[in-house]
Amino acid sequence: MTDTPKPKKQIVPNKAPMPAQDAAVRAKNFSEVATGYTRETAIAEAQRCLQCKKEPCRQGCPVEVNIPDFLKLAAEGDFAGAIAKIKEKNALPAVCGRVCPQENQCEKYCTLGKKHEPVGIGRVERFCADLELETGVKLPEVAPATGFKVAVVGSGPAGLTCASDLAKMGHKVTVFEALHVAGGVLMYGIPEFRLPKAVVQAEVQNLKKLGVEIDVNSVVGKFSTVDELMESGFDAVFIGTGAGLPYFMNIPGENLCGVYSANEFLTRTNLMKAYKFPDYDTPIKIGKKVAVLGGGNVAMDAARTALRLGAEESWIVYRRSDKELPARHEEVEHAHEEGVKFALLTSPTKIVGDDNGVVKAMECLKYELGEPDASGRRSPVAIKGSEYMMEVDTVVVAIGQGPNPLVPRTTKGLEINKRGNIVASVETGATSKPGVYAGGDVVTGAATVIMAMGAGKIGARSIHEYLQSKKA
């Protein structure tokens, strides 16, 4: 044997840390918390990929990005090649690089992650995407026009992904958005400090360059129903209207002034830029002590936003323990670092107001964890007689959202489940109505950006097949 043995790859056990603004500083501004990798760090991190044969990371990506290939290109410093590779599959890489819970997706399956920390796939993705946004975007190839017209209802992550894929296949796509700007939850829900709105709009602009038309100020179910859209010449419709119906606790005092749904609190701040009031006209009132009810990502966003708006104290009030918090670990950690306080195993029973109908306190009950329930989680049990008053002047209800009923209510022949979600096939996105597909939160209930994007991709593929069969 004359071959020299291949040098064994030097394993770097830890992910390159994400540079971030100092917690004390960032808790008072709306600039992005994580500032992003440098070119050198991105290359070094990409080089950590073992380029293993099995590529298990790929099964964790709902939009099917060829992760090892893009990491290889990035490892060689070919970021243009890397982003092109990502964009073969992912229309919103700058968004995904920031808000995907990679620890539950691609990075969960990373071979390196079995013994060490997984490759920081999301962080490298973000660097590639940001670099391209800075230096100029190369448009992906678009198939010749098919002559088919598709309407996409809702411009959130599901709708934008579906629109992008369909446009690349040569279909003429119009996206209908109810608000005055495209992006859905990426614009109204996720705060500026986690996902700068300029980044979202840059991605939306790229979509427009593919020929996608975006009609803002267009509430489907109101100016036109889905049936009317189809009568007016659309060959197929994708519904991705999200989970835009805020749930409340249904406890006394919830309609007092100073009680916001998380949707209202975040929409005022993010979409309407109330943090710049009075330069922007939309106000938001924030008290000295804010209680956010719930323990998910939206609750963390609201609690951290409250601090930035000037609250002296911002509390998460959650009825289970810290182990059950549904929010991403990273978000909880960030909240802790910034000074958010946690009242765990606690749930309010009523909200109390002053003479002007403004919140002044909340009666809470303490809980302890009982036996595991059907889901395997230990269910909280109220401790009798543990009522106490918590003085607060703002309450944000962040216990979840349901599907917005406008489209389901006005579309004939569309099957809806008990919770109001549209019934659609997981494999195809097909609904009970021919030519109408659906995906994202309106089907699954509130989930993640990347799950919605995956559903948008599946919807696009099925619509393409449907249109092909129509042609035949």
């Binding site: 109810a178 608000l179 005055h180 109204y188 803002v216 100020n217 267009s218 509430v219 109101k222 100016f223 036109s224 835009g244 119906l245 805020p246 409340f248 919830e254 309609n255 002034c257 100073g258 916001y260 749904s261 949707n263 209202e264 929409t267 005022r268 979409l271 309407m272 830029k273 009031f277 009075p278 330069d279 922007y280 006209d281 939309t282 106000p283 009132k285 002007n356 109908g357 403004v358 917005n404 009923p405 406008l406």
Partner: protein
Amino acid sequence: MYKILRKEVFSPIIKLMDIEAPKVAKSCKAGQFIILRIDEEGERIPLTIADYDREKGIVTIVYQEVGKTTEQLGAMEAGQSIQDFVGPLGEPSHIENFGNVIVVGGGVGIAPVHPIARSLKEAGNNVIGIIGSRNKELMFWEDKMREACSELHVTTDDGSYVRKGFVTDVMKEIIEARGKENIGLVIAIGPQPMMRACCNVTKEYGLKTVVSLNALMVDGTGMCGCCRVSVEGQTKFVCVDGPEFDGHQVDWAELSKRGAYFREEEQRSKEKKHTCKCGCGGGK
């Protein structure tokens, strides 16, 4: 962008605008509203649709200058454009033949009540219209309302036009004269105290009364819940469940408190130096 095609000044604080908005004009019905945002920094405010022309693609709004946005809008002229104009939103009025219907418009509420009166008349109702304002200067659309109703009664709080008295005084007289059993429905639209007063009167007679609520809103599509109101002890969203509700079931005290929550900020916003580049000459 949505072009202002025509502006009519009814009084220094009440103005009309025809807006080029074909999509809204095509599908709107009596009782629905729109949300507009003047410019990039603007807030979203709801206004009930006062009239529409489906063929020409025009939606008419009438507003009273009460805050920063309505004042800024009031300073704009025909030919200029507003950035966002979305609708139709909310549920349309329930129109059927009720027989005799009393339709009350108070102040700027005369505008939204107009298309409802017209639709009711078209549906075969005998529409008894009552319109009232604080004084002669604030009265408008008497002619249009006369056309939309079967008969029209006009009143002013100070007696400076036609007669002195509140709309509730006129309404009481009519109910007494015609007999409560001969009235199928009452619809009252105007400032909250006026709608509440109308409901207090009709409650005595056991007459069902529909009101159109003006709550603070952000998105107007059921997403934020800012506009929530208690009706019959249940929380409703004015934007998607309304804007019309049974006035006898509305928790008026709660509605009024919620409406006042941002008053301080509204004042600050109004006092802010107007520095837009829209060519409106710096507002007021």
